[in-house]
């Protein structure tokens, strides 16, 4: 009998896991960085790391389903002659026609309208599908200015000046040629089939002093009627929020790194920007320091998935939240019923993120006429409406359990944190203690 020395179990380096190795091989073979849609996939401190305390002896709850718990929100009360009032504090984030199909944009408009909230255009202009089916439509004013025109500016209900987004603070965009159809090309004044770049900086202003004048111009063009939002990525939320207020924003939209994009480099999505949870308290602090909390409304986005996330964001000081990725899932994105086709694309339902390639089996992130016909905008709109209403009911449930008759009455005092990191970011005590890392306490 031959003696064999014991061998160790094969072990991969933590720094070179399967995904990392596959990415090195892919980059070496193709000579192009990985481009994908969506937001950060890495695990970061998030709302799941917070818990509500609820009511007991020291707090009185409200009766579920019986006692009133309001959810409305008014946006644009600072300067606009016509602020907008939404029934629920959950809005639909900006997503472009071009990145998304016409039926997908229509579905978002239908769903938002049924639920009593707003939807938002994107980097490609305003489509008739979206305007026609959206009772309240926010018109994005982006660096590319694709499709920008004063007629649409005036028929919007609010204007959102996009300075950055959470998936890629400091970055522009790229819509690859596969999705530049005749209609998309015409709206963007570009040749068909080319890779379309969206600039990272606005072409005619730089910095908050210029932005103040730009906002003045937009107000003058629209006769001071429309609320003007400023959207920022989660970079330096305290100063960016303060400067947006200084520039004259009615509403600040703050997007953390879990917020999605139509397409950008994987390295950008995963390595630039801060988690949503880390952004909100500095932004609220900036508003409070300026005496503008609740006067300039704050909309938080980036990884909002359910009513608990909504309630937690509001408790930490937001006036509303915005959803993008979750809204796409609600209308049918990454649905397992297309699993066979996802497999053919080399992926699986739930992980499909090559939105830029325009081959979406669900007919959402595509301009392929055959694929987009798979999406019934009426049925998809109904699903989105259902989802928005469920989230609202969930947030109400939590608010009542905390004794609040409006979801805006939720407060940091209603929360505790499960980890030291999330306690520090959210500025609430670690569970079982009164310790807020970075602040006083035991």
């Amino acid at each position: 009998m031959t003696y064999r020395n014991p061998t160790t179990t094969p072990r991969q380096a933590a720094a070179f896991d399967e995904y990392t190795l596959s990415e090195i091989r892919r980059a070496a073979a193709t000579g192009i960085y990985d481009i994908r849609g969506g937001g950060a996939k890495r695990k970061v401190p998030h709302f799941d790391d917070l818990l509500f305390l609820g009511a007991s002896m020291s707090r009185y709850p409200l009766e579920g389903y019986r006692e009133t718990c309001n959810t409305n929100v008014v946006l644009g009360t600072r300067f606009a002659k016509k602020p907008i009032e939404l029934k629920i504090p959950i809005t639909i984030a900006g997503m472009s026609f071009g990145s998304l199909s016409g039926p997908a944009k229509e579905a978002l408009g239908r769903g938002a309208t049924m639920a009593g909230t707003s939807t938002t255009t994107g980097d490609g202009g305003m489509t008739e599908e979206e305007r026609g089916h959206s009772e309240t439509l926010v018109y994005q004013y982006l660096p590319s200015r694709y499709g920008m025109n004063p007629r649409d500016l005036r028929r919007a209900d609010a204007i959102e000046v996009v300075v950055g987004q959470g998936a890629k603070p400091g970055g522009g965009g790229m819509l690859l040629g596969q999705k530049i159809t005749d209609r998309v090309a015409e709206m963007r004044t570009l040749p068909k089939g080319i890779d379309q770049r969206s600039a990272c900086r606005h072409p005619d202003w730089t910095g908050p002093d210029d932005l103040e004048i730009k906002i003045l111009e937009l107000r003058e063009i629209t006769d001071w009627q429309k609320p003007i939002y400023v959207k920022i990525g989660g970079a330096r939320p305290y100063y960016d929020t303060a400067l947006a207020v200084k520039a004259g924003a009615d509403v600040v939209v703050l997007d953390g790194m879990q917020g999605g994009t139509a397409a950008t480099q994987e390295v950008f999505i995963e390595h630039v920007g801060q988690p949503t949870l880390a952004c909100i308290r500095p932004a609220v602090q900036a508003l409070q320091d300026l005496g503008m909390h609740r006067k300039v409304q704050l909309i938080l986005s980036g990884g909002i998935r359910n009513g608990a996330d909504v309630a937690k964001a509001l408790a930490l000081g937001a006036d509303a939240v915005s959803i993008g990725t979750a809204a796409l899932v609600a209308i049918g994105d990454n649905d397992p019923k297309w699993e066979e086709e996802y497999q053919k694309l080399g992926t699986t339902a739930g992980a499909y993120d090559d939105w830029h390639e325009g081959k979406d089996p669900a007919g959402i992130s595509t301009q392929d006429t055959d694929l987009m016909q798979r999406l019934d905008p009426e049925a998809a709109g109904r699903r989105l409406s259902n989802y928005l209403k469920v989230m609202t009911l969930e947030a109400q449930t939590i608010a009542r359990a905390c004794g609040k008759n409006h979801v805006h009455n939720l407060e940091p005092e209603d929360l505790c944190a499960l980890t030291i990191e999330s306690a520090a970011m959210a500025g609430v005590p670690l569970a079982g203690t009164d310790w807020i890392p970075g602040k006083s306490g035991i």
């Binding site: 200015r145 040629g177 963007r188």
Partner: protein, 228 residues
């Protein structure tokens, strides 16, 4: 003629009066006195009015102009005629940065010089500059025509799409993917028309050089690494 003295009247009143003009309005010729560098003067015009501004203006004069004819009898700050849709804007003096940025139509004529980023991201506007233009002009310009009777600064037409650039003087340097192109008869005809619309009578189209996109950066290629 309605006259607005901005030394005494708020800017809002002027712009509201311009926005209130309808097809039935009799007063369509406006005069603006003492602009003193005010921003957003005559922005959002949406009717075939004429506006004569007696003095220099600040940012975004005639922004998003539709159908109007706006004349600045002075110099213009950044972003004059930004995102213009149609009509015409004349600047008798110089223009600061971003003149005609993202413009989609109409004619912008600058009698003096234009600073950096003239015609940035232009989308169909025609711009005629009788003096010189600064660096990074026509950056990512998509469509329309930029005519320069003087010289152009660094990186002209960087990342250009389908806009046509005509320069009579020297170009300090061309930006990525911008090249000199042949001036064919249709370009001479186009240029002659643009010069005529701008009131230029003492310069011939043959004196210009045409620049356009090499179209090498239209689709990503790792072999163009140095250009990214």
């Amino acid at each position: 003629m309605p006259t607005f003295d901005l030394a005494e009247t708020p800017l809002r009143d002027l712009n509201q009066a311009l926005h209130d003009v309808t097809a039935a309005s009799n007063d369509t010729a406006f005069e603006v006195l003492n602009p003193r560098g005010a921003h957003a003067v005559a922005s959002g015009v949406d009717a075939p009015v004429s506006v004569d501004i007696r003095g220099s203006v600040g940012y975004y004069c005639a922004g998003m102009n539709c159908e109007g004819t706006v004349t600045v009898h002075g110099s213009a700050g950044p972003g004059v005629a930004e995102n213009m849709m149609s009509g015409a804007v004349f600047v008798k003096g110089d223009a600061s940065q971003y003149a005609g940025a993202t413009g989609r139509g109409g004619l912008l004529v600058i009698e003096g010089n234009a600073s950096s980023r003239c015609g940035i991201s232009m989308k169909g506007i025609d711009i005629v500059v009788k003096g010189n233009i600064g660096h990074m002009s026509a950056f990512m310009a998509q469509s329309g025509n930029l005519v320069v009777l003087g010289d152009a600064g660094d990186a002209l037409g960087d990342s250009l799409y389908e806009a046509r650039l005509f320069v009579r003087g020297e170009v300090k340097s061309l930006g990525a993917d911008c090249i000199e192109k042949e001036m064919r008869p249709e370009h001479l005809e186009l240029l002659a028309g643009l010069l005529a619309r701008a009131g230029v009578t003492d310069v011939k189209p043959e004196e210009f050089t045409r620049y356009g996109s090499a179209r090498k950066l239209y689709n990503f290629n790792i072999d163009n690494y140095d250009a990214y």
